[in-house]
């Protein structure tokens, strides 16, 4: 049994995090994430890297699905990770997992290689150089044949835009008119990129095979 939106809002307020669609669409997006990983073949014995794991929306579903210790999450925002730990406790999820607070794609910090990685609404919050660094860091830690699933947004007129996430955290939208940045990275770093037709509540979906 999951947590209803108002309970999540109540828990977030203890960390001074205001309500947002993140909480009211918790199940919708969390289920989308775990479902697409399963559709692409994730099994309990696989290792998963959750890039931008935030408040453990996917973690709360993936940790029970995976074998002990196979979930790894990374996020730059300390209060989100702290809230994520509280949410896991509330849900009674006491299996070991690994979290790292970092905004510089230190995936190698975990000291393992991954079968799957996922980034839900993360690429949408990175500059183009950061997107490149993210893929370079993934290349170093993904197993051959490993799968990276991510979401992104395209726009007709799409310059980079700076914005405040939740009114406080400075971020940049990369400004993508098409998928060429992913195709160029795929060619340079030698992985396969597919602009997927998988449905998503609000964004487009990219699938990379390393």
């Amino acid at each position: 049994m999951g947590l209803d939106p108002q309970t999540l809002i109540d828990m977030a307020l203890a960390f001074n995090i205001p309500p947002s669609g993140y909480f009211t669409q918790w199940d919708e997006l969390g289920n989308w994430q775990i479902d697409i990983l399963k559709q692409h073949g994730i099994k309990p014995e696989h290792r998963l890297l959750d890039v931008g794991c935030g408040m453990m929306r996917l973690g709360s579903l993936a940790i029970p699905h995976l074998e002990v210790g196979n979930y790894y999450g990374i996020d730059p925002t300390g209060p989100l990770l702290a809230l994520g730990r509280v949410i896991l406790d509330r849900l009674g999820i006491d299996r070991p997992y690994s979290l790292l607070q970092s905004g510089s794609f230190e995936f190698e910090h975990f000291g393992v290689s991954f079968d799957y990685a996922i980034a839900q609404s993360v690429i949408t919050h990175l500059s183009r150089p950061q997107v490149a660094r993210c893929f370079e860091a993934l290349k170093a830690v993904m197993k051959p044949g490993g799968t990276f699933i991510f979401t992104y947004l395209l726009g007709n007129y799409a310059p980079p835009l700076g914005f405040f996430m939740d009114g406080v955290a400075p971020m940049i939208r990369p400004g993508l008119a098409d998928e060429s940045i992913f195709e160029e990275l795929a060619q340079r770093l030698d992985f396969r990129f597919v602009a997927s037709s998988e449905p998503h509540p609000s964004q487009k979906v990219g699938i990379c095979t390393f």
Partner: protein, 280 residues
């Protein structure tokens, strides 16, 4: 600083509102009360078209409705216009910044219609009326799923009990109780209330005499703003909530669904499920 404010407003055990007492000093509060109380709606503002807020567009003039000595009148002011009252403009800007900070939005959000909507700082004067604003919710249901942070602000430019009598502004708390500002919740001229927009609210049974200023407040509704003027014949009439408080003519089934959505079960379980069904 924001933590206790957000907790009072959003937590299920919170009240659903927060009162910033003496948000305005006495000089400023008195100035704004007198300015809007004395201003003839026909003097500076254009008369709001019969299409109401559906007629708003980027760069539109400030509008008014009602008559100087009538039961209700109001002034819709936009930040892109030269202000009728510089003091109100400055205060309204601060209120909008504060509301945005509490909501976790960028401070400048919805001041100008960069995303097709903008705030109007609306001076509303209710002298008398049984149903001034009918009981209703804003941004509930599917809108609440998309953004549960929505707040409305009421800046009191009068003191309930002294400037008018009756129930006045009534708000449902997060726990489902009903509180009246000026009765269960003391408020005075110059106090600012931020409150959860999706909570049930109304303005009822306002009464004032000729030597009282009535229920004067500044509201901060976020309006949909068209990029250009819309031909009047293409839009339907949209009365303002406080424009006599006519009860909505919703079909029975729609009214029933609204009531179900408002229950704790509806908000916590049924609405999220309905949102998912609709978006897939």
């Amino acid at each position: 600083m924001l933590r206790p404010i957000r907790r009072d407003i959003y937590h299920s055990s919170g009240q659903g509102f927060y009162v910033f007492r003496n948000f305005l000093g006495p000089d400023v509060a008195t100035h704004m009360q007198r300015f809007w109380s004395d201003l003839d709606p026909m003097l500076i503002h254009r008369t709001l078209p019969s299409e109401g807020i559906k007629a708003l567009f980027n760069g539109c003039p400030d509008y008014s409705y009602g008559k100087q000595h009538g039961d209700h009148r109001g002034f819709l002011n936009f930040f892109w216009n030269h202000p009728a009252d510089e003091v109100s403009y400055a205060v309204a800007m601060q209120v909008q910044w504060l509301r945005n900070r509490v909501m976790g939005k960028a401070p400048q959000a919805d001041i100008f219609p960069l995303n097709g909507r903008a705030v109007s700082y609306r001076a509303v004067i209710s002298m008398r009326g049984k149903v001034v604003t009918r009981p209703h919710r804003d941004f509930d249901g599917d809108d609440w799923i998309r953004d549960p942070s929505k707040l409305q602000a009421t800046l009191f430019l009068c003191t309930p009990g002294a400037d008018y009598t009756g129930d006045g502004f009534t708000l449902e708390t997060n726990g489902g109780d009903s509180v009246r500002f000026g009765h269960e919740v003391p408020v005075a001229c110059g106090d600012l209330v931020l409150w959860r927009y999706s909570n049930h609210h109304s303005v009822l049974n306002v009464e004032s005499s000729g030597d009282q200023c009535g229920f004067i407040r500044l509201l901060f509704p976020i309006e949909d703003i068209a990029a250009q003027p819309i031909p009047a014949e293409t839009i339907s009439t949209e009365p303002l909530p406080e424009d006599g408080g006519a009860p909505s003519q919703r079909p029975f089934w729609e009214a029933f669904l609204l009531r179900v959505k408002a229950t704790p079960l509806g908000q916590r379980v049924l609405v999220p499920i309905w949102h998912r069904v609709r978006t897939h």
